[in-house]
Amino acid sequence: MEAQTLTYIFVGLSFALYIGIAIASRAKSTNDFYVAGKGVNPVANGMATAADWMSAASFLSMAGLIAFLGRDGSVYLMGWTGGYVLLALLLAPYLRKYGKYTVPDFIGERYYSNVARVVAVICLIFISFTYIAGQMRGVGIVFSRFLEVEIEMGVIIGMGIVFIYAVLGGMKGITYTQVAQYCVMIFAYLVPAIFLSIMLTGNPIPQLGFGDKLLNSEIYLIDKLDKTIIDLGFSPYTEYSKSLIDIFCITAALMFGTAGLPHVIVRFFTVPNMQAARRSAGYALVFIAILYTTAPAVASFARLNFIDSVQNTFYKDAPDWFKNWENIGLISWMDKNQDGKMQYSSGSPFVESRPIFSDERGNLGQRLLENEANASSSNEVYLDRDIIVLANPEIANLPIWVIALVAAGGLAAALSTAAGLLLVISSSISHDLMKQTFMPQITEKKELLYARLAAGITILLAGLLGIFPPAFVAQVVAFAFGLAASTLFPVLFMGIFSKNTTKEAAIGGMLAGLVFTFSYIVFFKFISPELNNSDYWFLGISPEGIGVIGMILNFLVMLLLTKSSKSPPESVINLVETIRRP
């Protein structure tokens, strides 16, 4: 059977499963729709959280990113897991004890102000939309590479599937679909990783193979990798190349950002009590760690494997996968020294950032390029980082069903995250804006209808962003984490750990964090990108890490304003005491 037929079967079966689950667990009340009736088992919620959290970027791009960033890639590994400690220890149990439906709900009631609620909704919508556009794009890319449909068609199919189970099932439907999606995703990630690990080191556990000796050799894989890439002119794999302060701040921004992301926090509203919320965060991290500790192993295997099979190899002897991906346009080779061999080293092979293919083929069958050769580097090979995970099964010579599985896994990752985001956007509109602020008289039935309508409209908007992606999708990811860290996290934290923080303080703090972080990122990413280097950064902190400074600013503003404003009413102090009580 052909790879493509198999992919259709795998993807089709997984979609049928998701829809089946959604129909079986559809929502009947707003309680079901917003928080799955608060009856989800902590282990199941842990799995759902993991699927919700691990997006198309985690599944498809992270290993490739680490393979080329080396040690600098650690910021993602620590940053995107360490936030769960903050969640489990500082936020999740207390927000669950509070017991309402959304994050702005808590902010609105704790800070006794609808202005605070609306500011929180604005932050939430900004953070979540940034994210969801990327997911829909991910769905489109997987469809177009493996099923050979247009990206637009892929996005529309993806929208349709998410529409069915998110609008019908609400949080309840999403939770149980995410459990299934987690299983598909993790199986698809581990199978190629295990085979690669056995192939290179003989050790079937990738996490251990990563630190093991190469097969039939006395040399450690890491040492070999370090030596190989240093010889080719790259900086060492095991040492940081960015400044320590920048590494520190990016890691911290990702951690605090993770803890402040509304679609993650809201997952802990679905379990029965605060004890379950804590344990559930632990289970979630276990399930996330299975992928996140495999990723750096896959990264090192793939980097070494790629260099081994490409460097100084005659093009005519290049492996099949090299030529397949060259045909798709994500790998290219420019024979600068006319020796028929591929030379790979640091630096870009050409002046432009991406290959521009002509329609012709060279005498060895390679695709010819119209790029201008980069004279300052001897590198002849271009490789798109995103293909590392997708190409792994082919690099390891795995059977075609593994390729089909990886496609289904990538879709599961993108769809599960998109659905989670969709739900927090729609519930903040129907619950926080309509029911709590502007139309308090509507019935529960009406509210549920509005929630479904909001979800439908959000899907349409997200789909449009997927089909017509703004050029800056990849760049604004820094926004989501930086903004969550500098707006929502400090306000939630102080709301629980300080009884006297006032509404003026919360509103001022959120706005200060938002304006500072937003302007810093916009200035360096869009207004003056030519100044975007460490000479011009504040204290040497890049836009990716600036959320931490925004967060500190937010805390300072809150402390100052709390001192100068009237202390909160008795009812709020009682509320804080209640949520702290076991």
């Binding site: 590994l77 620590m78 360490g82 489990a88 220890l89 630190g211 093991d212 760690a289």
Partner: protein, 76 residues
């Protein structure tokens, strides 16, 4: 000491380890502990790409276990 004060002490001590293993061993003092090795890994590198994640998991379950004991005492 009240339940809340005990909880705050527990929280801060666990967050100390959270900081030590990620920002400390993984980033700030990574160089100073790199003479130690686990298999092929230098210790600092291992903490930044694997070890800190395992520590995070242990911290959450430790907190969950200890605070539930405190909560039971408090309820009695």
């Amino acid at each position: 000491m009240t339940f809340w004060q005990k909880n705050l002490i527990l929280l801060s001590s666990l967050l100390f380890f959270w900081f030590l293993c990620s920002f400390g061993f993984g980033i700030l003092f990574s160089e100073y502990i790199s003479f130690m090795k686990i298999g092929g890994f230098e210790l600092g590198f291992w903490f930044s790409q694997q070890g800190s994640i395992y520590v995070f998991i242990i911290l959450i379950f430790t907190y969950s276990y200890l605070v539930e004991r405190l909560e039971k005492k408090e309820k009695k």
